[in-house]
Amino acid sequence: MNVFIRELKVNRYPLLAWSVGVVLLIYSGMLKFAGYQSSGQSINQILDQLPKSVQAILGLNVGIDLSSAKGFYAILFFYIILVATIHSSLLGAGIISKEERDRTSEFLFVKPIPRAKVLTAKLLAAFCNILVLNLVTLVSSVCLVAIYNKGASATHDIILLMAGMFFLQLIFLSLGAAIAGISIKPKGSASIASAILLFTFLLSIFIDFYSKLENLKYLTPFKYFDAKSVLTSGKLDPFYLVLSAIIAVVLVATTYLFYTKRDLDV
């Protein structure tokens, strides 16, 4: 499809930039780990004894073995997810709102193509983008962790974490798209999507601080597949898998419903 190919073309340099950013992030993180390895051992025992709230404050996700590459990566993962979700929400909001924002709707939507088809092409292109980012992260993580890893292979765990991240990317992508799809004036959709992202991010930190708020976990995707739970249980919690799928599906359906039925902001 022409719209699909065009969207892929337009996004290739930004995607490259984000990919480079992620790789740099992982690289500098693992370099830090290399320096940390020597003093790593004894600290773990100490840290484990601290109450959860203190551990959260110290920026340590509780229960992780900091002396292993795997454990360290788990901490790094928190920030990788932040980068990936920002990318997804900005992409989702942007790819849908750009025709109205840049005033090219009077060109594109007068063509003999149903709006739903345009939407499908754009969403597919965005999907490919987040998939590529995920794979780049996966491959560079596996490679870089392997370089510094002296213990057991972490590859399986990384794949698991990446799978979890992909669901998060899907959620925020569809969130951005839905906001742009619903808004009568989609220009502000990226801001709204970012605001929601920031809110859920802070909420996840807040929950880390105060363990009694565990039941608020549903409200923030950052807690669906967080490193600690995934690594200790060795799998992705099926409940959150289903929840993520439902959220993404509902948001995408909403996008279709509203985008095809509303007036375009001309």
Binding site: G21, L50, S53, I57, G59, I86, G94, R101, S191, F209
Partner: protein, 265 residues
């Protein structure tokens, strides 16, 4: 002056949202302090049993760690994060939105120099940031007082809180520079968000550069731990910031005066 008031009006709604957000964040996070201090006694005992070397490795001082200010130290990063996004948005957007909305032609053919235009916009943005900080400070002090039953060092608290505007000024300036340098900014948040989060992550990761990371990210310029310990900020960084802002601002004025302004021909 009309431009000044116009900008204030334009950003009124979003500024209110930012102010409220900052207040809510400080409210919710500080309200955790009572929970936190319950754990104090247990932790205190554990910590005292550690050799000094280990305590240092954790970069923690027992005394300050469990005061309100010590707690504030840890949550303040997130206040900084939120405030920085506000500032970056202002910096990136306040001039570039005229280009985006093609209103540059309208403004610049009025009897006003480009320098005057930029100055008034900057003045408006600064006013908004200052107002934000004043309201935030009030809310933060109020919350701190309530939550710790008045038992905290107010001066240090205020000093830490004042670093918010300092960091915001950095991001505002960087944002302005980006808007002068980048060709066409169609979406402000696509520039400001990655900008702020990039520096945020650099700060959080405390990377390979060791202590030098402090120079790389506005988030680490003013270390609350230092403030708590010494009662002042490190003037070295204030100086660096001042120099940085002056140089970049001059560059911004220069670039905008030189730039070709074109809308629809």
């Amino acid at each position: 002056m009309n431009i000044f008031w116009h900008e204030l009006k334009q950003y009124r709604r979003s500024t209110i949202v930012w102010v409220l957000s900052l207040c809510f964040i400080v409210l919710f996070f500080l309200s955790l302090f009572p929970v936190f201090s319950k754990d104090v006694e247990t932790v205190r005992k554990i910590f005292e049993s550690y050799p000094v070397a280990v305590r240092d490795a954790l970069n923690v001082q027992i005394d300050i760690f469990f005061t309100l200010n010590g707690f504030y130290l840890f949550i303040f990063t997130y206040i900084l994060l939120t405030g920085s996004i506000q500032a970056a948005n202002l910096g990136v957007g306040i001039i570039s939105k005229e280009a985006a909305g093609k209103t540059f032609d309208f403004l610049l053919t009025k009897p006003i120099t480009r320098t005057q235009l930029i100055t008034r916009k900057i003045a408006a943005a600064l006013t908004l940031l200052i107002v934000t900080n004043i309201v935030y400070l009030a809310a933060a002090v109020f919350t701190a007082n309530t939550v710790s039953h008045g038992d905290f060092e107010m001066n240090i608290f205020i000093l830490i809180s004042l670093t918010l505007i300092l960091v915001q000024l950095m991001f505002f300036t960087i944002g302005l520079f980006l808007s002068a340098v980048l060709p066409k900014i169609k979406s402000v948040v696509t520039v400001s968000l990655p900008l702020v989060f990039a520096f945020f992550i650099i700060g959080m990761l405390d990377s390979i550069f060791g202590n030098k990371v402090r120079y790389l990210t506005p988030f680490k310029f003013y270390d609350p731990a230092y403030i708590i310990k010494n009662g002042t900020i490190e003037f070295k960084f204030l100086l660096i910031e001042a120099i940085f802002i002056v140089i970049v601002t001059v560059a911004v004025y220069y670039l905008f005066n030189k730039k070709d302004i074109s809308a629809a021909d």
